[in-house]
Symmetry: C2
Subunit: 505 residues, 2 copies
């Protein structure tokens, strides 16, 4: 288990973990936890709402694409199901499926209130499928120690296998429910959104449409600039105030200078209320960087509790805290405190906390094999230290950590991406690509309509898959409008399906 625990230390949540490859050192060079371990937040598994579902398990095949004896092995794949609002098989009522991300499916379910809220309107059955190798869906006897023990086993953790899992499970479930004619719509946010979009492209006979929220399917080598991510975060903070931006931009040098001084480390320890006796400056920098990044991603317009409890518009709140702080270090602390301690319950912060409550550890493997998503370079304007994203560094890290070499062009070979408009225009349909422009991942998203049925919904003030969250009374009009537009489009897919079905029968 040593390996597993060590590499979860640089995992965060959802697509964040992608980032950690690039942003873990002070110069944005990929780093594995073998040397100074990245400080991370303590993630708490709060449920915003009391989400009702039944837990089930499906006997899933290990390897869909080969026929070696080992490929016939099976594992128990978890899925959650809610039939409260379902109109039933006889009425061919729809089935809404969440294509699980890189983590515990319960967590994603709790944070996808949109599906629960819209199920009554659509009389939809809700199904949330857990991604293989995450949560309770662990091959090789359900034993994570075994499944993550070496390459020969981890090798079965891949996006194409996950998509085939979803197809297999959905087809079987529909058959068991005698609901083969019920239309399936897939939903997903972040990596789950990428899977939802790819699922609609690759399995159009299983899903009639996909809502792909904040799905950076273009954040791959040769498609997007690696520094778009940091540019967006910079813009989020700078948009609040020029001074906020300047303070953060100048902080990296300041921290290093303070740390070098006699007694400086002690100053940092006290200012930032760190629990650790011994710290290094780069760990502190990583801790702050995480705060800025994750806050930008979850810069929701209402109070939320996805990663941590957070106020509405937390970036704005951070910049306000920076304005009010006494000195530069105090300003940074006050801002970071909004991310790490909004509930006010923390007495000190552990820079080297390596807990992984949402079970996201497997992403590190995915980021070392197929998910080569360049992120973390920065330009002169960036509030982060200047750096360049390096594929070679990724290779070195992955070889030393997993003894595996990435396949950097596999995702675009399998799913496309180059000239996506040109190629998807006439060969795919019924996908909504939602992106919020405050979300750094929107830089790798589909931001323009590709065709009448491949629709980009772009919310200038939106953050990471905000549309999928539970609604609140305080939701701004633009967010209500986004959800309304999504509902309308999904309704049109379903209605068209029923029409097609009628003329087909």
């Amino acid at each position: 288990m040593a390996i597993l625990f060590r590499f979860t230390t640089i995992i965060l949540f959802s697509l964040l973990s992608l980032l950690c490859f690039s942003l873990t050192s002070s110069h944005f060079i990929p780093r594995f936890p073998s040397s100074p371990i990245l400080p991370e937040l303590k993630q708490r598994s709060h449920s915003a709402q009391n989400v009702p579902y039944k837990t089930k398990f499906f006997t899933q095949i290990l390897d869909h694409f080969n026929f070696n004896p080992q490929s016939y092995e099976t594992f128990q794949q978890r899925y959650l199901i809610n039939d409260t609002y379902w109109g039933g098989a006889k009425k061919k009522a729809p089935i809404f499926v969440y294509t699980g991300n890189e983590g515990n499916i319960e967590w994603f379910t709790q944070n996808t209130g949109f599906m629960f809220e819209k199920a009554p309107h659509f009389h939809a059955l809700l199904v949330f499928i857990e991604h293989r190798f995450y949560g309770k869906s662990i091959p090789f006897g359900g034993n994570k120690n075994v499944a993550y023990s070496d390459n020969t086993k981890l090798g079965y953790l891949s996006s194409t296998q996950a998509l085939a899992d979803y197809a297999t499970l959905i087809i079987d479930l529909k058959k068991n429910l005698s609901a083969t004619q019920s239309p399936v719509v897939v939903f997903g946010g972040s990596y789950g959104g990428m899977l939802a979009a790819w699922f609609r492209i690759k399995y159009p006979h299983v899903a009639i449409g996909a809502l792909a929220s904040s799905a950076p399917i273009l954040q791959f080598m040769g498609l997007s600039s690696p520094d778009i991510f940091t540019s967006i975060i910079t813009q989020d903070f700078r948009g609040e105030s020029e001074n906020c931006y300047k303070i953060i931009k100048g902080s990296w040098k300041l921290i290093e200078e303070v740390a070098k001084k006699h007694g400086g480390v002690e100053v940092l320890r006290k200012t930032f209320r760190l629990c650790n006796k011994y710290i290094d400056a780069s760990a502190l920098e990583g801790w702050l960087r995480s705060a800025w990044i994750y806050t930008a991603m979850t810069d929701y317009p209402t109070p939320s509790n996805f990663l941590n409890p957070m106020p509405a518009n937390p970036v704005k709140k951070m910049c306000e805290a920076i304005e009010m702080g006494k000195n530069t270090l105090g300003k940074l602390y006050a801002a970071a405190n909004i991310y790490y301690n909004y509930s006010g319950t923390e007495t000190c912060f552990d820079l080297y906390d390596d807990s992984d409550p949402h079970d996201l550890g497997g992403w590190q493997w995915q980021a070392c094999t197929e998910m080569i998503m360049p992120v973390g370079g920065s330009n002169k304007e960036s509030m982060f230290p200047e750096s360049e994203w390096s594929y070679e560094d990724r290779v070195t890290s992955c070889q030393s950590f997993f003894n595996v070499t990435p396949r950097p062009h596999w995702i675009t070979t399998e799913f496309g991406g180059h000239d996506i408009e040109l190629f998807l225009k006439r060969s795919a349909s019924n996908i909504i690509f939602f992106n919020g422009l405050r979300d750094p991942w929107s830089g790798g998203g589909v931001l323009k309509n590709i065709s009448e049925t491949l629709v980009a919904i772009v919310a200038k003030k939106g953050a990471h898959h905000v549309d999928l969250r539970y609604s609140t009374k305080e939701d701004p009009k633009w967010l209500k409008d986004v959800r309304e537009q999504e509902v309308k489009i999904i309704a049109s897919w379903i209605s068209q399906y029923y029409q097609d079905l009628q003329s087909h029968d």
Copy 2:
């Protein structure tokens, strides 16, 4: 090598090998060559035309979908290339790719004159890619003895791996030719046609369209009746003359009766000019069955030499021979002689010939894993003995022969098939499904237009991928029309692509 050689004895060519699972015993029960070995034709590798190409090899990855250490192994994949007519990368001239079937790619290339004949019109580059595990494209060091030695290696022989091979090779080739903007159109006949159609559905970012000729993508469990295949053959012969049909229909009982009589086997040996000293009736029946089946499949309107040298309209010729023969056995011999000895060079026939000149042996594995295409049942009207296709028998055979259990629903899970019109209508485009209705495989083909761009071309008098063959002076008008229609449609895809490209740039 023992295993390999033994199972190639029941392989024929192209999709025929599928059939052998079901038609190898006198009651259409799947049989492996462990007991009375099926007599098969000697296949000769004649090239109808002098086909010009260069042979190249591509370093291909063994397993695209997993990341185990073994998946990183590579093999040399053969492809044939002809740039005589290519307009070049600068002009973004098209690339026509043949998605290789289950055999030596040179053989399929020689029998796909259509691509060579149309290349000048389109200024197209021609590429013919060999399917993994066939011909010279053998993983595990290029050594067939090793690659076919057991399940752990044969397991990598699958259609999804083959499609990913094609995508990987095409993308790399285009990059190397600086021709990333050249449109790719894929072509294939029979299993190659299935792959072409699936490739367009799954890799729309790699190929702008597909000509899928005689591709029985609906000949899977739960989609088509198993006895449609024999029904079509029956109709082919019965359509020539009622007497022809009756003679064949009555022959099975007759042969068994003769064989039982004292000296009867000797009568059969002499009548059918068999080289073998010892024969059994079921082997002779299999030999005749093969003749009827393969002749129906290749019932071309002009002389041909795909499997064997054959006259024009060979089914008609067989029925004429049956009319003219002296007694029933003599009639059968005269008809079979058209298939097995039209060139007149054979002095006797070997019922137990197990040569495999086109290197088709791997299909047996595919038919034991994913290619569960029920074929071979028959009804009362059938000219073949009554029988039922049995999935259970297939399982038993595959377990005993390969120690492998089929995954009968995998192909429809991965590629669809149920309600194909309903689901492909709005999620795919640019596929031509050609079928000739004299071809028994047309029973599993797409015979109706699905949409404006998913077009079925059906030729009442056509046989197995006749459209892809070299043209001859004697070609009937309907065949010329079919090819003209195909050229027009392909031209429209290419022209639309250039338009899209222009508005995209």
